[in-house]
Amino acid sequence: MQFFLAGRSKVALWAYLGGVRITSSQPVKDSAVAGIDEMPKVAQLPVQPNQLLNELWRESGAAAYGLEQESFSRILESVGKAQNYGLAAGATASQRQQTGFLRGLRLADLVLAQACAVGHEGAWEHFIEIYRQPLFRAAIAITGSETLGRELADHLYAELYGLKASEGVRRSPLDSYKGKGSLMGWLRTTLAQRHVDHHRRTRRELPLDNLVEGHEPPAADPKPGKLPAELLLLAKAVVDALEKIETVERFLLAAYYIDGRTLLEIAPVLHVHEATVSRKLHRLVNGIRKQIVKNLLEYGLNKQAVQEMLGTDPRDLDLNLKKILQVSLTDAFNEKAAL
């Protein structure tokens, strides 16, 4: 089998494969990847690239798809560099960080995905055997309909098989799988992306039959007039208060109040208990309210005026909380990002 990566010396890869041995089957913890520079330096073990490469290659099962060690090392190098070994852009990964990152990859899934991407027949048989039914089930769960689910899954299958050609070259979305998470999780996420993007593209499309002659669309709302000074102050206090909350809290507010997600849905995404989400939300709302009061007091209002201002009807405010909390990005970049 010939892999798409250009030939490079595996010595270049294994120059940074060394140091502490980490079990590859276990994902590397955050501290082992991102915070490893803060750990005290220990004596580096002598670099044994051949031994480590051989070990990772055997564990990945790459031999089953005819993937040799040289090609395997190129895949690892490509994946590591594409993600800067899990570090922020511009940071330089040490040998241990590089080793930890590579050992944290789902090597078996990565090898299977890469083998499927290049059209290895045995890999595809294995892929279909393992993932075909789960993929259908995931699609049905996402769409809420068996018909739509099967349609979505079939469409993705076609894409994965590389029926789409770009500039004469067959491309498979499996190329974008880098082994950070499980392949099944990646398939589910890809299905969800396809479904959401499809829904967003089609929801604004109205059939022509619905356009009745003489039935004009509703006029746009008149531009609101100038708001009183105190309402402008209140709006400013709200914006300032929302700007000070942390990222997780913003996510919580957006998911709960804008998306209308339940606590039970939010909890697994944040990997906390439902009750914890409830407590966080309660504290967050109270904190925002206190911050608004504090801001208004800092603006020079007295307590009585602040209390009266808090009783303002929110509809009187020219304030779009949805815009403050989130920025809706255009859908044009979705496909590019996903592939």
Partner: protein, 374 residues
């Protein structure tokens, strides 16, 4: 960070999936979270992917060999059943070791055998001639194991109330001879003396109960003695020890009957000396002529006036005798529940019988035949 985090780009599926699976570093995770606060599309993708993962988990669980919901229920009941069994065992031990009607600690009397030779005699029938040769209290004392009351703490007012009948009963032959010793001053000698006399003088006048286990005996005895154990100031241990070698089933009713007699002699505010002496004489008379009830069961409580004698057997039947126990006739049931105590109550210069059931309700009767709820 990789190129997918460039401006106006969404994180790719691999990064979103890694975020969902907690496979990202802190910095990368924070970056994706920051993106998701702004991007409803990626939030929706994450939630949908998680929904699909949950559905897959459910499918996997249902594909596993299932034993049905009953098996789950069974497993769920295992710890509950184990706890219930442990609790039941603990309760059984507690009930067995500590009878329900144990006297309160301040009224407990401890009986200590003075020597090793007075070890508790196994439960067995007493000699046939024991009833024919009532031993004097002193002899009974030694025969019962030279019992010595070592402690008895009772409220002073209760002791004062019992002072009068105590004096009356001590005047009976042999009663005063049973001297508990140095703690006699705080003991209720009336009760104890009557108890000991009864046990030794009339051990076989009661029909022996059918053989029952120790627990049943204790329960029965406890039920019979419950009303009087506190009043007599003697614990069940002292009672059992006071019974000496006599069978428990035989002696318990005798003890109870006499002790109730001693209680019915408890003075009240309107109790004059004449009535007190009459009751004391009646008690002595009852002691001397404890009945054999026609039901064949032993009496648990009895009361005597000059003309009539009432007795309750262990089954709760009430019998009346107007010839000092020679002949008995059953009294028609005019009460509710199971009567457990009958006593003589002084009213003015006269007396009436008072019957009490297990629930504590009382009925009174002047003649022992017609009862009125009190």
């Amino acid at each position: 960070m990789n190129s997918v985090f460039q401006l106006d780009l969404h994180p790719d599926a691999d990064s979103l999936n890694a975020f969902a699976e907690q496979a990202l570093g802190v910095a990368e995770r924070e970056q994706i979270l920051a993106h998701m606060t702004r991007c409803s599309r990626c939030r929706q993708v994450i939630f949908l992917a998680h929904k699909a993962a949950e559905a897959e988990d459910l499918e996997t669980q249902s594909a596993l060999p299932s034993r049905g919901w009953r098996w789950g229920w069974r497993l769920g009941w295992v710890p509950t059943a184990a706890m219930a069994a442990a609790l039941a065992a603990a309760l059984t031990v507690v009930v067995t070791m500590h009878p329900r009607h144990t006297a309160p600690a301040p009224e407990m009397a401890k009986v200590v055998p003075q020597n090793a030779q007075t070890a508790p005699v196994p439960l067995r029938e007493p000699p046939a001639g024991a009833a024919l040769k009532p031993a004097p209290p002193v002899e009974a004392n030694s025969a019962a194991g030279s019992l010595r009351f070592t402690a008895s703490r009772r409220p002073p007012e209760e002791l004062a109330l019992e002072a009068a009948p105590s004096a009356a009963l001590q005047a009976t032959p042999g009663a005063g001879a049973y001297s508990p010793g140095e703690n006699n001053a705080v003991r209720t000698p009336s009760t104890e003396s009557v108890q000991m006399r009864t046990q030794q003088e009339f051990p076989s006048q009661f029909n022996p109960e059918p053989a029952v286990g120790g627990f049943q005996q204790r329960q029965r005895m406890t039920g019979a003695l419950s009303a009087n154990a506190n009043a007599t100031g003697a614990s069940q241990e002292s009672m059992k020890a006071a019974m000496g070698g006599a069978p428990v089933g035989q002696n318990a009713p005798a003890f109870t009957a006499v002790s109730r007699v001693s209680k019915q002699g408890a003075p009240t505010a309107s109790f004059d000396n004449g009535a007190r002496e009459a009751i004391a004489r009646s008690a002595a008379s009852l002691n001397a002529n404890l009945p054999i009830l026609p039901s064949g069961l032993t009496a648990i409580s009895a009361a005597v006036t000059q003309q009539r004698t009432l007795a309750i057997d262990v089954a709760g039947a009430l019998f009346l005798s107007e010839d000092e126990g020679k002949h008995w006739e059953p009294v028609t049931r005019q009460w509710t529940g199971r009567p457990v105590k009958v006593r003589v109550q002084a009213i003015g210069s006269g007396t009436v019988f008072q019957l009490t059931n297990t629930s504590g309700f009382s009925w009174t009767s002047a003649d022992g035949k017609t009862w009125t709820v009190q």
